[in-house]
């Protein structure tokens, strides 16, 4: 039975390139992809122009994998265009899914960042106080660059998204599973996160003893026991609140999960989920449970925003820091 080939597109907005490397890392699996699909748009790989995408009929592309967050007008435009041209749009990787680490820029506005990078940094020699601007007249003509936005947005905060492939970058296995599901036309209901319905702890081989902890250690302060749960050894590990599918890779080199997979199943957001998980493990027995002790415990969590929302500030209920004007 001959079947019509699927039309796939890949696109990236504000990202580091790691998602593209993850696609390359599927290695021989790419052969399967080419058998079931034609890649109709992949700017890094193929000579198909933006204009050609504009000329495509609406819903011409079956599936677009979109990585990177949205932080300028051009990225916003491409997100809207690809939404219009695609039957299915997948937010690929943590940036598109939740804003990722560059989303921590939402703790500042564009002015703070520009001032810091071009005026205050110690290596800068800038006596005239030059800061990049969207339009510059040079003697030969006008040079234009895009405006740097105040706020980093996720793909779903910009357009309607059908699926999410979590991770920074998405693990090769999740990409391969997604390709299989597409090939077999077995994609789950719209809005699903394409990862196992488990938390990272469920994939972690370490032993748990249901211990309560009263002291937290930072990773550089303590060499952990390699067999035991890191959280029960007092090392803040986001495993209980983070979606799995990564095979607990970081834990294999004795480092804690930092939450790149996004919130675990049935959790609205990662930070709230983790704080709830912590509440159940941090603590004292009834004898020692005093306000003072709880306060002492909580104060050990330094930089809570950077800890609980390292990958997800734009997608969280916090979204961004409100700037005093």
């Amino acid at each position: 039975m001959s079947k019509k080939k699927l039309k796939l597109a890949f696109y990236w907005a504000a990202s580091c390139g790691g998602c593209e490397i993850a696609v390359l890392d599927i290695n021989e699996k790419i052969v399967d992809v080419v058998q079931i699909a034609d890649i109709v748009f992949w700017p890094v790989a193929m000579d198909i122009k933006y204009k050609d995408v504009e000329n495509m009929p609406d819903k011409y592309i079956d599936i677009t994998f979109f990585n990177g967050s949205i932080r300028n007008s051009e990225q916003e435009h491409m997100a809207k265009l690809l939404r219009q041209k695609s039957k299915t749009l997948v937010a690929f990787g943590s940036c598109a899914h939740e804003g990722c680490i560059p989303g921590l820029a939402n703790l500042h506005d564009s002015k703070e960042i520009l001032d810091h990078v071009y005026l205050k940094e110690i290596s800068v020699v800038n006596p005239e106080g030059t800061i990049p601007k969207t339009k510059t007249e040079v003697k030969e003509g006008t040079l234009e660059i895009p405006e740097f936005y105040d706020t980093v947005k996720t793909l779903a905060q910009t357009v309607d998204v059908d699926y999410y492939l979590p991770g920074c970058p998405p693990p090769v296995k999740l990409i391969a599973d997604a390709v299989d599901a597409i090939a077999k036309n077995e994609l789950p209901p719209k809005g699903s996160v394409l990862a196992p319905l488990k938390a990272v702890c469920d994939e972690c081989p370490r032993t748990r003893e249901n211990k309560k902890i009263t002291k937290l250690y930072r990773v550089h302060e303590k060499a952990p026991d390699p067999e035991k749960c890191l959280l029960e050894q007092g090392i803040l590990c986001m495993g209980p609140a983070t979606r799995s599918g990564c095979d607990a890779q970081c834990l294999k080199v004795d480092m804690p999960c930092t939450g790149c997979g996004g919130p675990g199943p049935n959790m609205p957001e990662l930070g709230a989920g983790m704080i709830a998980a912590l509440a159940s493990i941090l603590g004292y027995d009834e004898e020692n449970l005093s306000a003072e002790n709880v306060e002492k415990l909580m104060s050990q969590i330094v930089d809570p925003v950077g800890t609980f929302y390292m990958y997800s500030l734009p997608a969280s209920i916090l979204r961004r820091k409100v700037m005093k004007k």
Binding site: C16, E20, I21, D47, L104, S123, E140, V302
Partner: protein, 483 residues
């Protein structure tokens, strides 16, 4: 005045675009490479836990996360005033060698190499990895894919994840190497030496065996007499992971050699309003604009910068090839296209070094972390595939980040890349006439550096799609060229 703009199709999300201005006679007046992207890591890392920096900063680049990871870890070693145990340093350097194997292979076969292997005048649809396969054979392609994957696997074993590793800690590394994994890596490292030797043979047969290619390397359009910078060991030999920073002048004589912590004495960054990238320069000479020579502080980094700034390579096979290159091209080498040759010599060095390290009895030692001291200030430098990478942190008493300064590898080359593009355009475009072949050659100047702000160019079949628009002096579009 006419404007030609060369836009990678990626201009829409901003990975760099070139505008070339022609004067009334149709000669190139000037060219600008605009970088329309900024993310602001230096600002939003403030307030974060210091020990997270090696993971936060890998997200600057998903192609070279290992370089950021270890520049960051070394900055933390210094900031916490802790010296890692010898085995930890060796494991870091081993992982680093794996990264260089992966990254240099990716660039030579997928991106830069096709210009030579398939030929600079070959049609664009052939100037990619598929063209390389066609010319060199399918067996070669299999080896390329295998060894790129080996590089990634070495990083994954030691770092937890190949892209965005997590193993680095101030004072050491999080996990020791098991004997089982050691054997796996040894096999990959030994195989990588053979692969690097093969790659150099391919380069000799196809490129150096063709005098037209050698002439192109030596031609004026691709020659730029600048200062060069790279990290060297105690013998002034190239070292990716550790050492001092050495700068040579355009005549090849040592200009300065400094400790990483003193970088601010030697490097400044100039700002222009038409691009988000900054222009680093040698402070003692100063930023005097977009020209090169002894009187301007423009320097180059990356494979050619490193080899020019060093006196040799620390492994025997790479050293032999280093000598061949300088015998062939003179010293220092100012030909931008020689970056490709230098890159392959480094690939061989990285593979040889990986073999040395994996056979070191200490490599499976479990003494891999020392206790950090009080938080303070630190600078960490490594040689990323694309050049010298500086991380500088100031920590507060709680070991939270108070201040960050970064000079990222490609940024060092930004002034030189701008000039290389301008000069290639000036040398190749006359009387307002240019065609696809000319644009290919302008693009070759850009690609030789393997620039990371076009992360796009590291990927897949390695072709930068171009749109070239020609405007008349009324700014009306008169011609569009595409490839």
């Amino acid at each position: 005045m006419k404007e030609i703009s060369i836009n990678p199709i990626t201009r829409l999300e901003g990975h760099g675009s070139i505008s070339i201005f022609l004067n009334d006679e149709g000669e190139v007046e000037n060219a600008y490479l605009k970088i329309p992207e900024l993310r602001g890591f230096e600002k939003f890392c403030e307030g974060r836990r210091a020990e997270l920096m090696p993971q936060l900063t890998t997200r600057i680049c998903g192609v070279c996360p290992v370089a950021h990871h270890f520049a960051s870890v070394k900055a933390l070693d210094a900031a916490f005033n802790v010296e890692p145990p010898s085995a930890a340093k060796k494991l870091r350097e081993l992982m680093y060698a794996g990264y260089i194997i992966y990254d240099h292979t990716l660039h030579f076969y997928y991106l830069g190499g096709p210009d030579f292997v398939v030929g600079p005048d070959a049609p664009p649809e052939k100037r990619n990895i598929l063209g390389v396969i066609e010319k060199a054979g399918l067996d070669v392609a299999k080896e390329v894919i295998k060894h790129r994957a080996y590089g990634q696997e070495i990083t994954a074993i030691l770092g937890g994840k190949a892209t965005h590793p997590v193993c680095g800690l101030p004072g050491g590394i999080s996990k020791a190497l098991s004997e089982e994994d050691r054997q796996k890596i040894e096999k990959m490292a030994v195989s990588s030496v053979e692969f690097a030797k093969f790659s150099l043979k391919l380069f000799h047969d196809i490129v150096l065996g063709n005098s037209a290619y050698v002439d192109l390397i030596k031609s004026d359009a691709y020659t730029m007499k600048t200062y060069y910078m790279g990290q060297v060991d105690d013998n002034n030999e190239v070292n990716f992971y550790d050492g001092k920073i050495r700068v040579v002048d355009p005549n090849g004589s040592e200009f300065v050699k400094f400790e990483p912590k003193d970088y601010l004495t030697h490097i400044g960054e100039h700002v222009e309003s038409w691009t988000y990238a900054k222009f680093p320069f040698l402070k003692k000479i100063g930023w005097k604009g977009q020209f090169y020579g002894t009187n301007n502080g423009v320097y180059r980094v990356g494979p050619l910068g490193r080899l020019n700034a060093a006196d040799g390579m620390a492994t025997p096979l790479a050293q032999a090839e280093y000598e061949v290159m300088y015998k062939t091209l003179g010293r220092p080498v100012h030909g931008t296209l020689a970056f490709h040759w230098a890159r392959l010599i480094e690939l061989l060095y990285a593979a040889e070094r990986a073999v040395e390290l994996i056979k070191d009895p200490e490599i499976t030692s479990t003494n891999i972390r020392n206790k950090p001291g009080e938080p303070g200030e630190g600078v960490g430098v490594v040689e990323a595939a694309r050049g010298t990478l500086y991380h500088h942190y100031v920590l507060d008493k709680d070991a939270l980040i108070k201040d960050v300064n970064l000079i990222v590898a490609t940024t060092n080359n930004y002034p030189a890349i701008c000039m290389s593009i301008r000069d290639a355009a000036k040398g190749l475009i006359h009387n307002g006439k240019f065609d696809q072949g000319v644009l290919n050659k302008v693009e070759m100047a850009f690609r030789a550096y393997d620039p990371c702000f076009a992360c796009a160019t590291h990927l897949a079949v390695g072709q930068i799609p171009l749109i070239v628009k020609v405007y008349d002096n009324q700014k009306s579009l008169i011609q569009t060229l595409q490839r």
